[in-house]
Symmetry: C3
Subunit: 152 residues, 3 copies
């Protein structure tokens, strides 16, 4: 099934991709491997701020992770010249969760993104991943996720 | 020499591999490159909790790093269809150490894993690496390590 | 233009490369992809200590990031057998910023390195990147950066 059919079934509209604010790019390819820059969580286009275990709970964090996942898919589409069906495999996801010292559910937060990739890409969406708690993130956002994918 | 001879000489028995608890996998391959998910430290099968510079000292952290290294080798064996001799090179190791704000020996903790890879894989075990202190980890574990390897 | 002409125009002299202090290496290659170990910030050859949002401000952090970038270029030269013109593309940069809980400008700190790569490598220097705040770093340094590059 086309990735676009799946996105439609899931009622997901891809956003416009963000432009980087400095001397870097949102995706870089070497061979068939694409590296996506860390994407910070956004809500209605603005930084989704918060700290897990502080002013944010796991459920909201998982929603933020899903939102970052959608932004990553939009960037991945751009990396594929506009055609997500060129994605062969989601290879690796790294999830950096803005965490209070007592918060130990980074994996549950990150499931919000992992589940999305499985829903959209099926078996090819199953990825290796790491999730850990960071001291702070750019603009005070609650979450940042980067991704490695294999493309045609 | 076979990797299995080395493991035997080092008296290392590989554990059963962990099953991921969500929509991800413990290893994903693209071309000849395998990405392993972040593996959290375990002691007797349970999360090895603690914070370096808090309730855990560097020596115990290095033991935990060695234990994670053994778990990573077990996953790498699975990624190679059961034959570790297909590993061409340990390429990159990333070590996330649960750290109090005052703890500055993440590199010494991580040596527990780096030394293991050198012992087991010899020259091919020498890897690039990063080690840094994180605010917290899934389930309160003291350490999480991910790995990139080249395989046949 | 040769990378060496650019370095000269920018008045950048590459330092001697650091030797790793344990069972790892500063760079490891698989196919055409080189992974560089995390390089900690140094000032006059000694660890550049500090915490952003604590005893260090963004401007100094960006200088430290530029300094790490120069050290990374020196290691990249070694990885290319002494010839930086073999670098095809700077692919990915990961920047771990030693951060107080209130510091949210990891991206601005990291620009010190990103700008350098754009200056030295031009279009081929534009990389994907992630920047995040860590709880602490080896030897109390303010910054650690690792890099992935494509080489001939």
């Amino acid at each position: 099934m086309s990735i676009y059919t799946r996105l439609q079934e899931l009622n997901i509209a891809l956003p416009a991709t963000a432009a980087p604010a400095a001397s870097y790019v949102m995706h870089a390819q070497t061979g068939n491997t694409v590296f996506l820059s860390g994407h910070i969580a956004k809500k209605e286009g603005k930084p989704w701020t918060g700290r897990l275990g502080g002013d944010m709970e796991t459920e909201e964090g998982a929603l933020a992770a899903r939102a970052v996942g959608i932004d990553l898919i939009a960037t991945l589409e751009a990396a594929c010249g506009g055609d997500l069906n060129r994605v062969r495999r989601i290879v690796k996801l790294t999830s950096m969760v803005n965490s209070a010292a007592s918060f130990t559910e980074q994996h549950l937060v990150t499931n919000g993104a992992s589940d999305l990739f499985a829903q959209v890409f099926g078996t090819q969406g199953k990825h290796a991943r790491s999730a850990f708690g960071v001291a702070q993130l750019p603009l005070g956002t609650c979450l940042e996720i980067e991704l490695v994918a294999e493309v045609d």
